[in-house]
Every structure is written in C-alpha cells, then in structure tokens.
C-alpha cells in the first residue's frame, strides 16, 4: 500500500484566500481528507481542501516540490 503526498489548503472565513497550510501522506484521497482534517483541526476552518501533490502543475519553476510533475513524474 503506497502512500502519496497530499497538499492541504484552507481558509478561515468565506472570502479569505485559500492558503497552503501543510501536507499529509495518505494511501488514497479518502484517507487524505480524514488525515488533513484531523491533523490541522487546531483551527476552525471554513473550508479545507486537499490535492495530490502529483496533480499540481508548476508554472514558472523547474525546482522545488512540484518539479517532478513537469517531467511527468510523481512525488
């Protein structure tokens, strides 16, 4: 059972910008949702989302955590 990195984004209030608050390792999307909520529950979030890091497409950088995705690789 392989784990993947999921980045976690959240906003405190409606209208706030969605910001990156951290990441979790999870085997699938469902567990990523649960882990994100339980790991970052110290704040009262209006909205929280997770996205598989492998699905993030970098725009202007060829280094950093998403660089592998340019080359068609996964994190």
């Amino acid at each position: 059972m392989e784990e993947h990195v999921y980045d976690v984004f959240a906003r405190k209030e409606r209208g706030d910008p969605l910001r990156h608050i951290g990441y979790v390792d999870a085997m699938d999307d469902e567990l990523a949702r649960v882990y994100a909520w339980t790991t970052y529950s110290e704040e009262r979030w209006f909205e929280m989302c997770v996205v598989a890091r492998a699905s993030i497409i970098p725009v202007n950088r060829t280094d950093g955590p998403y660089a592998a995705n340019v080359l068609g690789g996964a994190s």
Binding site: E3, D25, D28, V34, Y35, W37, T38, T39
Partner: protein
C-alpha cells in the same frame, strides 16, 4: 413507532420506561468511552503518523460525546460523576465488540468501522424519537463523527485491496467475530427495548438494524460478508445492561474512570 410528541422532562415518564431510557443512554455513553480508549491505544503504533494523529483526534471526539451522553442522565436523576467514576467494569453497557484491545491494526479497523456504524445507527434512531434532549444534542454529535466513518471505510477498502492478503483475512475474521454481538446490542429485542419503542423514544430494532446495514453495507461488501444473513447473538443476554455476557477488561475501565489520578480530581 407512533408519531411522538416531544418529551421535555423524562422524569415524568413511568419508572420502567425511565430505567429503559437510562440503559440506552448508558450503553451509548459507555460505547463511546470504551471506543475512545481503543482509539487511544493506537495513537502510537499506528501504521503512519497521520493515522496515529487521526486516532488521537477521534479518541477526543468519542470522550467528548461520552461526557455529553453521561450528562443526559442528570435529567433522569442520576449523578453523572458517580456514573463515570464509580462503576465497575461489570456494569459497563458497551458492546462486546469493544471488550478487548485490538491485537493489530486490521483488528482495530474492523472494531472501529463496525462499532462506529452501530453507535451511529442507534444514535440516529434515538434522535428521531420523542426525547427533546436527544433531538437537540445528537445531530451535532453525528456531524462531528463524519470523519470517523470515512476513516473506517477508507481503511477497510485499503486492507481489502492490500497485496498482503493476511490483512484482509484478519479484517474479515475480526468483523465476522464481532458482528453477531453487535447486532444484538443495536436490536436487543427485549422488554426494555420494546418499552422505548412503545413510548416513542426509540425507533424499532428493525429500523435501527436497517440503518446499520445501510451505513456499513459497502464495508461488508468489500469484506465479502453477507451481513443480512448473520443472526444476532443474544445468548446469555444481560437485560440490565442491554448486551451479552462479559465486560471490558479491568485495566481499560481503570483508565476510563481515571483511577490512578483520582486523588487529583477537583470538581
């Protein structure tokens, strides 16, 4: 169940109905308290850091809900502090599925996924009954629980798909072992449970079982268990607690009561 008019003061109910209501609330509260302990045993030692953090979070939720449920007993003239701290293990009304610690993660997954579904089904049946206290408090509790069933469900599906088949086998065997007792706990089919139905305080056992099978249906399907064909095990039924024989291990209940640090308890 007849369309219930709301009951705001349970002390106005006949004594035998109050006793049945107390048994129901205690069963739910004890189930959440012991389930919380079972989660806590895997905060360290879970398959991943995230899984351990989730177990810690869910443990806190369960204990918070247990506290709310114990507090409901005040409306029945019981002192919740005494109920929480002075009862022996033999008095606990939690389902037998929670009596012993899980030996491994797959066993824990079976335990949490099924007992969580069972508790949810009973809580929903209770919230739709005539007691205003249940209608007011239970929906918030259920909303806070939504990630618990997601966690159980995701892990059941992962273990069933695992290349190491022994994890899926352990999961299936554990679920099969606890299911008959759990079915009896959610649908006691005894005079006390019938009194609750007749008083409009609780949905029928068939309705609660149907809810449980609906909630856990995809899990049973993944595990290859035909739950509709499993009979409830009511052998050695303990009508005082609304469960089968046995009880949680003593060490678990010592932790639940906080015995070791009781001298530090300040009201």
């Amino acid at each position: 169940m007849t369309a219930p008019s709301k009951i705001t003061d349970p002390m106005e109910l006949p004594e035998e109905v109050r006793d049945a209501l107390e048994r129901l609330i205690l069963g739910l509260a004890d189930a959440k308290r012991v389930l919380g302990i079972r989660y806590s045993e895997w905060v360290l030692g879970a398959p991943s850091l995230e899984a351990g953090i989730s177990a810690a979070s869910m443990c806190q939720d369960e204990w918070g809900h247990a506290r709310l449920l114990y507090a409901m007993l005040k409306r029945l003239g019981r002192d919740p502090v005494v109920v929480e701290h002075d009862r022996p293990a033999e008095a606990y009304a939690s389902p037998s599925a929670l009596d012993a610690s899980a030996d491994d993660w797959a066993e824990l997954v079976a335990m949490i996924a099924l007992t969580d579904g069972a508790i949810t089904a009973v809580l929903e049946g209770f919230a739709e009954g005539a007691l205003d206290l249940a209608a007011n408090r239970v929906p918030k509790m259920l909303a806070e629980e939504r990630f618990h069933s997601d966690m159980g469900s995701a892990w059941v599906h992962s273990l069933c798909k695992a290349s190491d088949e022994s994890a899926g086998d352990t999961l299936r065997d554990s679920a099969s072992a606890i299911l008959p007792g759990l079915l009896a706990w959610i649908d006691p089919q005894d005079p006390a449970s019938q009194l609750l139905v007749d008083s409009g305080l609780m949905q029928t056992g068939d309705q609660v079982r149907e809810r449980f099978l609906a909630v856990c249906g995809p899990l049973f399907e993944a595990m290859g268990i035909d739950a509709t064909q499993v009979a409830a095990d009511r052998s050695g039924w303990d009508a005082a607690r609304g469960r089968g024989p046995g009880c949680p291990d003593g060490e678990t209940i010592e932790r639940a009561r906080g015995d070791r640090n009781r001298m530090l308890f300040v009201e």
